[in-house]
């Protein structure tokens, strides 16, 4: 187990290096620092402003090798975009944003809270609701209950997410006036009022694929021999479904669920930006719209880290949930 973990982490580090290299190609090769600076200061800015902006943001370094100050000076030698890129990402020192010139670390700190306050309830409620409804549908398979659940799944999956957001804001926010249309206030007494609608709409948007997947997994488990054994020893429906079927179905479900956990921190792009929640999701959208390459680079990097962490977590949780799995 420990050996496996160490190896998995080593692979993870390798992958992170690959990601950083790819990011460098994307952010310094495909879009080069000149373009970034040009976009930041505007097409008609004075050349001095442009040069000064590049200098302030560290974009004035040479790409790969710094030979300006003589070949024998090691420190100067590595004073380049490539080294700086790796150094910053590896040490989580993301520098300042291209847009607004704020420390990125502060933006991340401030955005994580609002993001989590949206994604965490969404994740927990979605999981409980999804598993509960899928269990019911599987238990009542091929009855009108099952069919109704499947119908709702297919309908919600077929309708574009944006429609739910805008429709929900219109119906619940504007017409019924139950909750604010959008906005955010971290104050504990009112935060729920602002989160209710986005969480609800997030649930509706995520409902279909999850319930369908879980239902399939449950149905598969319900046909297994050990379920028949459980019934033959006198276990009732609830016990069969919860103690036997759910426990076994947990293993495939885990892949789906654990993978999502690290992404709770990176926020929800669509929901946050439409509901004006100042989390990391809307930060990313703002960075996209505002050509904030430093910010974007950071978010893509964190997303990749979340993905790698999710994979390792999934493997470990597999081993914890299934005694047959030996990590080696």
């Amino acid at each position: 187990m420990v050996v496996y973990l160490v190896r998995r982490l080593a692979y993870g580090v390798l992958t992170v290096f690959g990601v950083m290299l790819l990011l460098f190609v994307l952010f310094f090769g495909v879009t080069n620092p000149d373009d970034i600076a040009r976009k930041a200061v505007g097409e008609r800015a004075m050349p001095e402003v442009y040069v000064q902006w590049k200098k302030n943001h560290g974009y004035d370094r040479p790409m790969f090798l710094n030979t300006e100050h003589g070949v024998f000076d090691g420190r100067r030698y590595s004073d380049t975009l490539l080294f700086e890129h790796f150094r910053r990402l590896l040490s989580f020192d993301f520098g300042r944003s291209d847009n607004g010139d704020e420390p990125i670390a502060r933006r991340l700190r401030e955005g994580a809270g609002p993001s989590l306050s949206l994604t965490l309830p969404l994740f927990v409620l979605g999981l409980v609701l999804g598993i509960g409804i899928a269990l019911l549908a599987a238990f009542f398979r091929e009855t009108y209950i099952d069919r109704a659940v499947l119908l709702v799944c297919v309908v919600t999956m077929s309708v574009a997410g944006l429609l739910f957001i805008i429709g929900g804001q219109f119906l619940v926010g504007l017409l019924l006036k139950w909750f604010p249309v959008s906005g955010f206030d971290p104050n504990a007494t009112v935060i729920a009022r602002f989160l209710a609608l986005p969480v609800l709409i997030g649930l509706v948007m995520g409902f279909g694929p999850d319930v369908r997947l879980y239902r399939t997994v449950f149905l598969e488990e319900m046909n297994r021999d050990y379920v028949r054994t459980a019934r033959a020893k006198g276990a009732g429906d609830a016990r069969v479904m919860l103690a036997h079927v759910l426990r076994n179905a947990l293993i495939p479900i885990l892949t789906n669920v654990v993978m999502a956990i690290p992404f709770l921190f990176t926020g929800a792009l669509l929901l946050e930006s439409f509901f004006g929640i100042p989390g990391l999701g809307s930060l990313t959208v703002d960075a996209l719209n505002g050509n904030d390459f430093a910010m974007l680079r950071t978010m893509v990097y964190l997303g990749a880290l979340a993905f790698i962490a999710g994979q390792i977590l999934t493997d470990v949780s597999y081993a914890l949930a299934d005694p047959r799995v030996r990590l080696s």
Partner: protein, 327 residues
Amino acid sequence: MSAPLLEIDRLAVSFRAERGRVHVVDRVQLALAAGETLALVGESGCGKSITALAIMRLVPRPGLIEAESRICFAGRDLLSLPVAEMRNVRGGKIGMIFQEPMTSLNPVTRVGAQVEEAIRLHAKVPAGEARRRTVELFQTVGIPDSGIRVDAYPHQLSGGLKQRVMIAMAMAMQPRLLICDEPTTALDATIRAQILELIRNMATTTGAAVLLITHDFGVVNAVADRVAVMYAGQIVEEGAREELLSRPRHPYTQGLLRSIPRPEARGNRLEEIKGVVPRPGQWPQACRFHPRCPHAFDRCRSETPARTVVSPTQAAWCHLVDEEARA
């Protein structure tokens, strides 16, 4: 003679098919006395496993036990029992073990816990007591190091040990009837005799009756008191073991017994029953065996045979036997 422990009458099980319903078990009649071991023999697909599952009311969907069926166990009609009481019967009064010990145990739960579950579903005992009884049961069914093995997961045990766990689970509440559905088919030949011996011993010491489903006459010979032969969803012959094995009356039983390889017939071509087993839903009219029967005559094609008693302990559903008995 007092009322039998288990009495099955007109048992019919059908599955919904594209057109109408297909019967896989059709008017099966069986009786089992307390403490008796009855072997239910037949080829795969003849409905013997479904018959066993019907007793437990565990016929898988979309199978349906037809309304005219009657299954009477210890004086109670199982088919009209409320669900909660049926749960008490399952595992409490009737234990069941299955063909595949590999897949019949829950793979993510320790085997001891699975047996404890069987106990605690029927007896209000504290966890420690259930565990103590489980270790004891493991000893009884011959699992070495039972105190350690209770904490093993199924994949850590061999097929034979898993089947022993299944037996421990089925016998945990000392049921009056033990249903064994091909208990040794999936096991190595060397383990088979041990498991059969164990089933027989457990039944003898607790006084349980055994309904043993098999297609193997070696198994029948080893443990059965009586034998019932099934073909195409129906019982075709039943009788005391020795009588039926030495003097089979139904041509199907005769064919089955002739097709067993024997050392003294070495070198000769093995006899077989001509034709193939008909699939459910495509069963012939009248006597279902007549297209494959070497002795079939007109009556076999036009009239369903009734039960013909050939001795106090043997009966066959066959026109030929009927005509001989009349003559």
